[in-house]
């Protein structure tokens, strides 16, 4: 099961990379300047490796970069290149990356989110 999850994750990753690059390019050239901003996102049931990978994947997601991971609070600090709809962006992250990662790298008892 896990290899399949990992493979799906990898494919999503590559796809997101391409989308990310192009979206960023679009944000650069489009006439309206993007309105960047910071946002927090809580995560659940991920160990250190899992949340790190999540952070990486987020960084690859169009327009988002992980700034900080607070494992004690179970929080990610993100920078959005275009902060018009933070909730939507976060929702995308949860569905695309967080869930598969929770299956691959579930947190031990020490970190239950």
């Amino acid at each position: 099961m896990k290899p399949v999850v990992a493979l799906v994750l990898l494919l999503r990753f590559v796809w997101q990379l391409i989308v990310s690059g192009l979206t960023t390019a679009w944000l650069i050239v489009r006439p309206a300047r993007p309105r960047p901003g910071l946002v927090r996102m809580r995560y659940r049931n991920l160990d250190d490796v899992g949340v790190s990978i999540l952070g990486c994947l987020i960084s690859l997601t169009p327009g988002t970069t992980t700034i900080d991971i607070d494992t004690e609070r179970g929080e990610l600090l993100l920078h959005l290149l275009d902060a018009d709809d933070p909730a939507g962006t976060v929702a995308g992250i949860r569905s695309e990356f967080e869930r598969p990662l929770q299956r691959l790298y579930p947190a031990g008892e020490a970190n239950d989110g």
Binding site: D48, S52, G55, C56, T66, I69
Partner: protein, 143 residues
């Protein structure tokens, strides 16, 4: 913001061996393609530097075989020694010897050249890796 960059810490564990692998590859093929002991060593140095940033200088130096100073000196010593066999054969110093090592399933070309280049690799990695890691260590305490 937390003082620790978790992503770097975690990623470094994976990237470090990868970079060493790349450096060894660069070292071994250097006689025929761009690369060689020095460039391979430099890649290893950057691996050590990365590890030092991620996990601290002491960890990075601990991961160098034998520690920085010993690795560097042993490397130079290896290069120096690789030229000595020739002297016993009455050839000038640093005359490289080539031979084939039969391993049963395949034959491997071995030479003192490779020893020399490995010595270069170790010397560069040990010395410059040591310098880089120690430089990073200078300011670790205040972070």
């Amino acid at each position: 913001m937390t003082p620790r960059a978790l992503i770097l810490t975690v990623a470094a564990r994976a990237i470090y061996p990868l970079m060493l692998l790349v450096s060894a590859w660069i070292l071994l093929r250097g006689h025929n393609e761009p690369g060689g002991g020095f460039i391979g060593g430099m890649v290893a140095v950057s691996a050590t530097a990365m590890l030092a940033v991620a996990h601290g200088a002491d960890v990075a130096m601990g991961r160098m075989p034998g520690g920085a100073m010993r690795l560097a000196t042993a490397g130079v010593l290896l290069s120096l020694i690789s030229g000595l066999p020739a002297l016993f054969l009455g050839l000038p110093y640093m005359t490289h010897l080539w031979g084939t090592l039969p391993l049963g399933f395949t034959d491997v070309d071995v030479s003192t050249v490779l020893l020399f280049d490995i010595g270069v690799f170790a010397a560069v990695w040990g010395a410059l890796g040591g310098v880089c890691a120690s430089a990073i260590a200078i300011d670790e305490a205040v972070r």
